[in-house]
Structures are given as C-alpha cells and as structure tokens.
C-alpha cells in the first residue's frame, strides 16, 4: 500500500471513531462542541504513558480511552444541567479550558507540541475502528439504543415511561468522550506528534459536521459523514487551491437539500 493511501485510510478510520464520539451524545439530544477536548485528553494521556512510563502504545490507548471516559463522566454532571444552546456553549467552554490547560502544561511540551515516538501502525488503527463500528451497531440494537432516541424525542414522556433521562444522557456523553479519547490516542501514536493548537473548537465543529451531514437518525449516518469529509477533499486535490472552496459549497448544498442528514431512518439501509 502506498504511503499516501495508507495515511488517508488511517484518517478515515480515526474520523469514523470521532464521528461516533459526537454521534452518541447527539442521539441523546446533546450538541457536544467539546469533542476535541476529549480527543486532546486521549492523545496527551496516551502519549504521556508511553513516553514517560514506557507503556506499550496499545494498552496506553486503552488507558487513555478510560481516562477520557472518566473525565467525560465527571463533567457530564454539571454540564448536563444545561440545555440546548447553553449545553453547546458549556461544552465549547470546556474545549477552551482543556486546550488552554494543555498549552500551559510543560510536562507534555506546552505550546511547542509533543513528540511521541512509540508507533501504532495502520492495521491496529483499522482494527480499533472496526471494533468501534461493531460496538456502536450492537449498542443500537439494545434497549439503550431506542431509549436514548426516546430521551431526545421527548424527555418528559421518556421519564414517565420509566427511563432515567439523566442516566441515559450521561451514559451517552461518557461513551462519546471515551471514543474521542481513543481516537486521540490512535492519532497520537500513528502520526507520532501532537500539538494542543489543533484541538480547538474548530476541530470539534468539524466532527459535529460529519454527523450532521451523514444524519443522526441511524448508525450509518456518521459512517457516511466521516467518509465524505475524509475522502472528498482528497478527491478534489486536482483543483489544488480551490478544493476547500468547492468542498464547502458541496457541504452547503447537501445541508440545504437534506437538513436532516443524508441517511434517514427507514430509507435505504435500515428496516
């Protein structure tokens, strides 16, 4: 496999995980604009473990997943007290907080970036990505899958049907944070260099766009969204400088034609 193709596929695999990281809270009715904060937490904690304690990168990635999940679970309690646009702003603030903190942490390089020599190759990244896809698909075949949708559709009625609204929302938020952490850890160990500047709110917004473009109604949506966002800019490389302009126009076109996302429930795939 050529180096170029491999790096595109690695990005695709990581972006799929990121898309599900944003998808999980969104299905429960939460717009998380702080996904990049959890990516950064995963990337830096995995890097720190493998750099400072010589932990093998795979267990380091798993530990980083757990760390991002635990931090997600802890912040879910105050953050999920807010609703709608305020919840989005709270997660936005969280993103700034985490990014700012890392920029000031000299133990992981601060603003000058953090090299991580231990390497995770493409097959391992791809295996993690496939495992995430399978897990998410299975999760949405359980009672949890229909219950989180019920919560975002009608919190009051879901509560009266016996569902724990707060419990489901914090579970979705926590699982999303853990996936973001995993994606960060895989990125850090594959590309061997991370910079806190990259984990800003703009990155979070991109991840949310994957999901909105693909659609939040089915588990296929984020998969498609991540694929389009990863591959389309590459396919447009022919038109060099204009490719991001063309890409942005295509996104606006898709959004105005299909505001609910490309894949809807009971359309092509699901039944």
């Amino acid at each position: 496999m050529s180096g170029y193709l491999e790096s595109v596929l690695v990005l695709l695999a990581i972006n799929v995980i990121l898309a599900y990281a944003a998808f999980l809270p969104m299905v429960a009715g939460q717009l998380n604009l702080g996904v990049a904060a959890f990516v950064a937490i995963g990337a830096y904690s995995a890097g720190y473990l493998s750099n400072s304690f010589a932990v093998h990168p795979v267990p380091a990635a798993l530990a980083a997943t757990a760390a991002a999940g635990i931090i997600g679970w802890l912040v879910a309690f105050p953050i999920l007290r807010t609703r709608g646009i305020y919840l989005a702003l709270a997660t936005f603030a969280l993103n700034q907080l985490v990014q700012g903190t890392i920029l000031n942490l000299n133990v992981v390089g601060g603003a000058s970036g953090y090299p991580i020599p231990a390497h995770i190759g493409f097959p391992v990244v791809a295996a993690f990505s496939l495992a995430v896809i399978v897990l998410v698909f299975l999760a949405f075949r359980t009672r949890f899958g229909i219950s989180v949708t019920a919560v975002s559709d009608d919190e009051r009625a879901a509560d009266l049907m016996g569902l724990s609204v707060r419990g489901l929302q914090s579970a979705a938020f926590t699982a999303g944070a853990a996936l973001a952490g995993l994606a960060g850890a895989l990125y850090a160990h594959h590309f061997n260099y991370i910079e806190a500047q990259n984990y800003g709110v703009l990155f979070s917004i991109y991840i949310v766009l994957y999901v909105l473009l693909g659609g939040t109604q089915t588990v296929y949506g984020p998969l498609l969204g991540a694929a389009v966002f990863t591959l389309l800019p590459e396919l447009l490389r022919g038109s060099a400088a204009w490719r991001y302009v063309i890409f942005a126009c295509l996104i606006i076109a898709i959004m105005s034609l299909r505001p609910q996302g490309v894949i809807l429930k009971r359309s092509w795939f699901s039944k």
Binding site: I146, T149, A150, R156, A158, L160, M161, K265
Partner: protein, 251 residues
C-alpha cells in the same frame, strides 16, 4: 383502594389550580374525572404521575405513599398513562415505542444492554408485535410513529401504556378527536382492558362515552371537587349543570 389522593393542592404562580382535592379509586373500578375546560383534570393526572410536585396533600398507590417518589419510578409500581396531546416518540418506530414501556417491568442496567433489535426471535420484540397485532396495528409496526395519522397514534399510545403491564391506567381524553366508529372501537378495547383487572381513571368530555364505560364520576370545577356520584346520576346534579351550563337563573 388501589389509588387514593388526599387533600391535594397545587398552585401555579398565584393561581390555585387544584384545591384540597380528595378521591379514591377501588381496584378494578372505572372512574371518570370530568369538568369544564381548565377545571384541573390534566393537572390531577400530572400530580398523580409526578410530572410536578404537589404543594400539599398525598398520593397513595396500593396503600403506599408515592407523593415524593420520582416520576420515573411510578410506572414501575403499576401506574401508566396516556396524554391529552399524544406523546409518542416521533423518531422511533411504532414497535419501538411500545418496547420503551416494557422497560418499566424489568428495569436496570442489564436490561438496558439487552439486545432487542434482532429480528422476530427476540422475546420483547415478539411480545410488542403480538400486542400491536391484538390491537389491529401490526401493519404499522415498522413505521415512524411521528408520520402516522392522529387516530392511529392514539391507538398506539394505548398499546404502549399497556406494555408496562399497569394495574392503574390513567387515560387523558382517549376519545377526543375520534369519529363514532373509532370511539366505539375504543370503548370495546377499554372494556377488554378493564376485564383483565386494570383499574381505569378517565378524563373525558364525551359524556355518552363516560356513561357507558365508567361506573362512577368525580366532577371538578376550578380545581375543587363539586360532585361525586354514579355516572347515571350525573345529569340530575344541579352543581354539575351549573358548572357546565351556567346557573339556572341566568339560563
């Protein structure tokens, strides 16, 4: 008594919506809660199911005090309801809506992680499908609930409430917006549910429907109980006539 409310009061701002209301429902009874618009009937349902806390007074379900019990635990105790303005989950399919209510019978983290999505073999899915079939709604099982006509949604909401296996079922205007044939079908369905031993409490404006279904009537006006009688005697009561039609002198 299977359900009892004692001296219940509720104000919104300065407005007293429910004022020192008490009544009880015997096991297997069919009680109607009637009164003019704004009398507080839906508020009574909301207080019983815990949508809002009562300012004062108590609610008892099968002799145990549930006044302070969080709303989501009440359905697990056997108290289910339907809503005046249908509240199905629009993005879930009909069968998924029904399956949501099953959770009340077997709650917990393990139940949450139980697979329910694989084909017809799954026990819970099969049960929901059978309940829909019994109500003549099997054809809609895979449709998104939000896209269905009003009358169908109302029937689905009833099937959903029953999927929780309630002992007490609160129905908020079940016949509203239904044509005579649909109302008759609803009557038959509720008779069948009552025969299984489910206690019914019905808020309804269709007095003919109430007269046929319910044995006893509690009449509310401005949040107070103004009458309580057998459903056959309702027209004879002067206070009820006054509440609905205005006082005799004016009329």
């Amino acid at each position: 008594m299977v359900l009892e409310i004692r001296n219940l009061s509720k104000s919104f701002g300065g407005l007293k919506v429910i004022d020192d209301l008490s009544f009880g429902v015997e096991r297997g009874e069919r009680l109607a809660l009637i009164g003019p618009n704004g009398a507080g009937k839906t508020t009574v349902f909301n207080l019983i199911t815990g949508v809002y806390p009562a300012d004062s007074g108590r609610v008892f379900l099968e002799q145990s005090d549930i006044t302070g019990l969080p709303s989501r635990y009440r359905i697990r105790r056997g108290l289910a309801r339907t809503f005046q303005n249908i509240r199905l989950m629009p993005h879930l399919t009909v069968i998924e809506n029904v399956m949501i209510a099953q959770y009340a019978r077997a709650p917990g983290v393990r139940a949450m992680l139980q697979p329910v999505g694989f084909g017809r073999a799954n026990r819970w899915r099969a049960e929901a499908r059978a309940a829909l079939a019994e109500a003549g709604l099997e054809a809609y099982a895979g449709e998104a609930a939000g896209a269905l006509p009003y009358g169908i949604q109302k029937r689905v909401e009833l099937v959903r409430a029953l999927a929780a296996s309630p002992r007490v079922l609160l129905l908020d205007e079940p016949a509203a917006g239904l044509n005579p044939a649909e109302t008759e079908a609803l009557h038959q369905a509720l008779e069948a549910i009552a025969r299984r031993g489910v206690t019914l409490v019905v808020v309804e404006h269709d007095m003919q429907f109430v007269g046929r279904l319910c044995s006893r009537v509690v009449v509310l006006n401005f949040g107070c109980k103004i009458a309580e009688c057998a459903s056959g005697e309702i027209h004879a009561d002067a206070r009820v006539r006054e509440a609905y039609l205005g006082s005799e002198e004016l009329a």
